[in-house]
Symmetry: C2
Subunit: 325 residues, 2 copies
């Protein structure tokens, strides 16, 4: 049976986690959050965070569109974004590269230069790695991080009554990718958002002590809010007209004959943060000085996970971007 016929990526992950379960006293959160959270030392207030991400040439990056430096930056930023979403800071990184007989030294060095820029920005120490050969370039990053128990933000911590907010405009990366794929002109804003996204580590550090659940938007708003609903056993309402969209995303929608909101809901790779916050913490949120956009509210689980349109229609929010379907 092909993976798509078995329900796609998330159904497969559920099957696999029955074969190798991820449960142990020391695992605070395992498969199912942005990063694994491990209580290495029972006496220590700091948890170890671990995230891994694999990018495959032609699938996750295209060497014809992206400069190697941009690929390097994106690779690190999407991993840091996972650590940020847990409320943590990144510490040690391990790079595992698959290179092909046609990969040049120059390309690889420029890839590393991009990685070096992001590592420097986030104070990440590169501690090891592995280089091997294959038919297609693969970049696999393991990033460790650390978080104190009071700053830890899990997907499972949303509460009915919480407001749902995001840290920035959504859909730009996906709109850029769609235009690129069709050989259409792309604005520099959309191109930058797609090729060199920057994660919101600083914002996450300010948010971590005051929010309930937090997640980074790597697979689209619809997918992320479904993760939070599933893990927190809550429902959600997202207000369509509140989703922040950049004018270039609206323009891309017109060009492509697509509702711009689709890029935000079902696109991905925005690497903004989605968080839920109790109304009583709103003043603290304002005091951070961060930009944020309220996009919905957390409800009871029976109410399901819905998009509320301007005309007050309710549309069920599906899982968003799903590999293999």
């Amino acid at each position: 049976m092909l993976i798509k016929d078995a329900g796609g990526e998330f159904a497969l992950i559920q099957r696999l986690s029955r074969i190798i379960p991820s449960n142990h006293d020391t695992i605070v959160a395992g498969i199912g959050d942005d990063a694994a959270v491990i209580k290495i030392n029972p006496k220590d207030d700091q948890y170890l965070l671990v995230t891994t991400d694999t990018l495959v040439a032609n699938d996750h990056f295209k060497t014809v569109w992206a400069k190697p430096e941009q690929i390097g930056i994106k690779t690190i930023e999407c991993n840091v974004s996972d650590i940020a979403a847990m409320g943590g800071i990144p510490t040690y990184m391990f790079i595992s590269l698959v290179l092909t007989p046609k990969t040049t030294v120059e390309w690889t060095e420029r890839l590393y230069s991009g990685m070096a820029l992001s590592c420097k920005k986030h104070n990440i120490i590169t501690a090891g790695g592995d280089t091997t050969h294959g038919e297609v370039e693969v970049i696999s990053i393991t990033l460790l991080g650390t978080v104190s128990s009071k700053n830890l933000c899990l997907r499972s911590q949303a509460q009915p009554g919480d407001w749902i907010a995001v840290t920035g405009a959504l859909g730009a990366s996906s709109a850029g990718l769609n235009l690129l794929s069709r050989d259409l002109p792309v604005s520099s804003y959309l191109l930058e958002k797609h090729l060199s996204p920057h994660c919101r580590l600083d914002a996450a550090q300010h948010l971590a002590p005051i929010v309930n659940a937090m997640i980074d938007i790597s697979d689209g708003l619809s997918s992320e809010i479904n993760h939070i609903c599933f893990q927190s056993k809550v429902g959600a309402q997202i207000f369509a007209e509140s989703i922040p969209l950049h004018p270039d995303v609206i323009e891309a929608g017109k060009t492509l004959g697509q509702a711009p909101i689709d890029f935000a809901l079902n696109g991905g790779e925005d690497y903004e943060l989605l968080f839920t916050i109790a109304p009583e913490n709103f003043n603290k949120l304002k005091q951070t000085g961060l930009k944020y956009y309220i996009v919905g509210k957390i409800t009871d689980t029976e109410e399901g996970c819905y998009l509320i349109t301007e005309s007050e229609n309710k549309i069920k929010l599906q899982g968003g971007y799903n590999h293999f379907t």
Copy 2:
């Protein structure tokens, strides 16, 4: 410039480590050992070990030869082998899978069943992972481990005067691979050694307190002894007639018209341990009850790294298996 024209894998790693250096107070060993060694907590006697390994379909495993369970076992064993060679024990594992649109659910579940067997055997806790799609299957494993400072074995700890020993017969995996590649009959011993190798974690635990340098034989004896010479700034003499070879490896040499010792020197994936030990610790080695084979001795760095043949010829030992050349 292609990687092979720039001197291959090790020259590339040196270039890349200039762009992203791996030096920090807390890194006891970084790029250049089997696993990275990090002193997470300055007050703690335990170090964190981290190793990552990436296996690419068609390159590192062939789905026509190997059952998915065997691929699963091999993936875990080769990572545990890296932790074992540091004197450590494995703790937490993270699996990052790239699957193709043609990968079946059954294959993936059987792969996981193989992994589960090895994880159970070595008490490894699976703490997270990532599943994505690509053109070719890629299995990337990150394995954490722990080691006390007194058990830590680095490649850089060999001393002139040490004896060099290995924990078992060598060359079987490579001989099996060579026969398989030429569609020739393969004995069950060689097939098992190639398709389902088992790492020597138990042996490593007994050796760690009494040896100087230790490394696992993943790229061939010649490559591993060169790593030790380079990191320890020593020379080495390997006695050709002392290298342990199974009768099936000798037979494979005859069939393939190749010196059987070549499989041991330049093959790889044996996952036995190579260690250096001071003569005064020999009694302790005997007391462990482990099988071991003395294959050479550590000399001063000026003496270089040589194979001494039965007729007392000296042959310079090259780097062994090198990706991209």
